[in-house]
Amino acid sequence: MSITNLLNNWSFYRNKRPYRGQYDLNRQYGEYKWAMAVDLDICTGCNACTTACYAENNLPVVGKHRFEHGQVMHWIRIERYWDEKMGEFPEQGTSFLPMMCQQCEAAPCETVCPVAATSHTNDGLNSQNYHRCIGSRYCSANCPFKVRYFNWWNYPSTAWPAPLEDQLNPDVTVRTKGVMEKCTFCVQRLSEAKSRARTEYRLVRDGEVLPACAQACPTGAISFGNIVDPESKIAKMWKNQQVDLYKDMQEKDNTVRGYRILEDLRPFPSVMYMERVRDAEA
């Protein structure tokens, strides 16, 4: 810890709002910018993504009681929204929305963490450092999506009784009580793919790596990739949907379905959603 180090690297400690060309292939940093697209028209609300996330990221199953108390640890959740009651079927018209950390480019959680336990990576991920976290929960207080989950209890001691601990993913830390956690876009897979690619002197190919939710989705509603690569599927999807990462208000026509949640708060999320197409007559 030295003042010189702090002053020399001050720009890295600051969270700026994203600017065009931030992830430029010609620059030293910014070869990757991981982004996601969720097609709500395809999503069936089957919860496979949630289950896969539990398995991949060592999420504890908290039980019914704690679930009801809002102490659940699902990094990706399927939100259900209902139409207003029409006719004799009260459960008509469910909409599903998978909600995970939006990996905001100007993340509200990052600026408020007192110990800088959550910060931005060069890949455009919003990282969470469990060892640094002291559990002030300010990040969760300031997160508009409320996708940060706090370890209210010492889950490792209860969530995996004797043989079950063998199913834990060795690549992912098991979090203790008093630590904040959230969706990482399966950063352990990303870094594994990146280091494999680096040994072969290339960049990660499109589709080479997927987070557990995207991999498990039976209908393929979740797409994932490197948006810096203009040839990648995800970059094309964002482009087709006329959603720009660097804008806080999209100028798009009515023929496309893409949008980002709570854009007016200017967090610049990295997850694009595509509206569900509804037939009003049905």
């Binding site: 108390h69 408020v112 800088a116 002291i134 002030s136 300010y138 209210w152 209890w153």
Partner: protein, 481 residues
């Protein structure tokens, strides 16, 4: 019946010119010493009742914290949207409480309002101890309290710094600075009195006060240095006091949440801080006056002046509160407006309305002279005001969590568990315990400044002649002698 012109003149003078005096001018200095030193020996029985009650409450709070430390914060019934709960609300309350000590001891010192002299010592002690209590809540609410020192910019081999963008780092810095400065200020102001204690003490107390009084002999040179030091620290403390609560306000104003993201929060918080602090001073004034038999020093006119001050500040707070509401109501922020409506009509409506009633309507009792001079009323009103101010802090923190921006996470069922309530109660125990211990160990009325006050006032009387109306007679309703 008033018949003659002279009689009428006397009557007018009695009613409007000659007020009741803050303190008797003929108190002998030796009597001041003995009266105050007596408070270090045998207080009334109520002292022990309060002390032991506070100790019991504090121990309960400690056991709650041990339970929470061992089990995790889940026992406090905090959940995903409602991540802060009563801990942060009570934290703001205690930070706020600390401000009036500085108001009385530093600001009024600079303004030469000498009526503060008999009561500023305990107000300054209140500042120190309420800051210590607030610090506890920062610790208690952390998930991993054993690593709280990560917030401090200390040298370490990993070259890591705290995040200077975070208001919590500003908080930690500001509160720590304020705590150390107010402790120094309290101590410096006490040195001449500690010397008096030393001169009158025996045994281990003599050694204790000798050590603390730093060889004070009362020489001219010492007094000159003392004055300069005291004034310097007072000037240093005033901007600190304002900045500390402004920074606590930025914890909320800097964030994006509806109901927090409000520009007027810093002055609003400072006003609320002075308000609850002044109300607490009235409560403690009444308690100390009885417990330590300080009736001659903590007189009714001083209580009345404090009450007037409280009333003025309560109106400032009310104004800023209404500014906040109207700015939100007429503003463009849809989420904030929704949060305001939720506060007034939702699950917290009872608390929100009682907060507004206690904070803005109840202080009007202080506008009446009869009530200001009625001690039981003042005791009840001052406690009610502080209940209102505690509710205010709770109504800032909790409804915003329950009704945030994102509809899926709105949670209206959360109610603080007994662990949270236990720790809130324990904090009151901790504060009262420390405060009562302080008053038992250190002179809670400033002896040397009361002497100054008596001396100045008697000089003033000599210079301007004896008053035509004897103030003791006037207080009893008599006429000129």
């Amino acid at each position: 019946m008033i018949n003659t012109f002279e009689e009428r003149e006397v009557e007018v003078e009695r009613r409007f010119v000659r007020k009741e005096k803050d303190i008797r001018e003929d108190i002998a200095w030796a009597k001041i010493n003995s009266d105050v030193l007596r408070s270090l020996e045998r207080p009334r029985m109520l002292f022990w009742v309060i002390f032991l009650g506070s100790l019991a409450l504090f121990m309960f709070g400690v056991s709650c914290e041990i339970y929470q430390y061992e089990t995790g914060l889940g026992v406090a019934n905090l959940d995903n949207p409602q991540v802060w709960g009563l801990y942060i609300a009570t934290f703001i309350f205690w930070i706020g409480m600390s401000h009036s000590g500085t108001l009385l001891s530093a600001i009024l010192h600079l303004m030469h309002a000498d009526w503060r002299k008999p009561i500023y010592r305990f107000a300054e002690a209140m500042t120190t101890f309420s800051l210590m209590t607030a610090g506890l809540f920062v610790m208690v609410h952390l998930g991993r309290v054993w690593q709280f020192y990560y917030v401090v910019a200390y040298p370490n081999e990993r070259w890591t710094w705290p995040n200077f963008q975070s208001p919590l780092v500003w908080d930690a810095t500001a509160i720590f600075t304020y705590l150390t400065s107010s402790m120094i200020f309290l101590y410096i102001g006490m040195i001449p009195d500690l010397a008096i204690c030393r001169d009158n003490a025996t045994g281990f107390r003599k050694r204790f006060y000798t050590f603390l009084s730093l060889g004070w002999m009362g020489t001219d040179r010492q007094w000159a240095n003392f004055r300069v030091t005291y004034l310097t620290v007072a000037c240093f403390l005033i901007p600190l006091a304002v900045s500390v609560h402004s920074i606590v306000a930025t914890d909320f104003a800097v964030s994006q949440q509806p109901g927090w993201h409000i520009t007027s929060f810093p002055p609003y918080f400072v006003a609320g801080a002075l308000y609850s602090g002044c109300a607490a001073i009235i409560t403690l004034f009444i308690v100390l006056r009885y417990v330590f038999r300080f009736e001659e020093y903590m007189t009714m006119p001083i209580l009345e002046k404090t009450a007037k001050l409280t009333f003025a500040i309560s109106m400032v707070w009310t104004y800023l509160n209404l500014v906040e509401y109207s700015a939100t109501w007429y503003g463009d922020d849809m989420y904030a407006k929704q949060a305001l409506i939720y506060r007034a009509t939702g699950d917290y409506a009872v608390f929100w309305w009682s907060m507004n009633f206690l904070g803005s309507v109840v202080p009007f009792t202080l506008a009446f002279k009869k009530l200001r001079n009625h001690i039981p009323t003042m005791l009840v009103v001052s406690i009610l005001l502080n209940v209102g101010m505690w509710l205010e802090r709770w109504m800032i923190v909790s409804p915003t969590f329950a009704n945030g921006i994102y509809p899926w996470t709105m949670d209206h069922d959360q109610w603080p568990a007994w662990v949270q309530w236990g720790m809130v109660a324990g904090s009151f125990g901790w504060f009262n315990m420390l405060f009562m211990l302080f008053c038992k160990i250190f002179p809670s009325v400033s002896m040397y400044e009361v002497k100054e006050m008596v001396y100045h006032r008697s000089l003033h009387t000599k210079a301007h002649g004896e008053p035509s109306v004897n103030h003791e007679l006037a207080a009893e309703g008599g006429t000129a002698s």
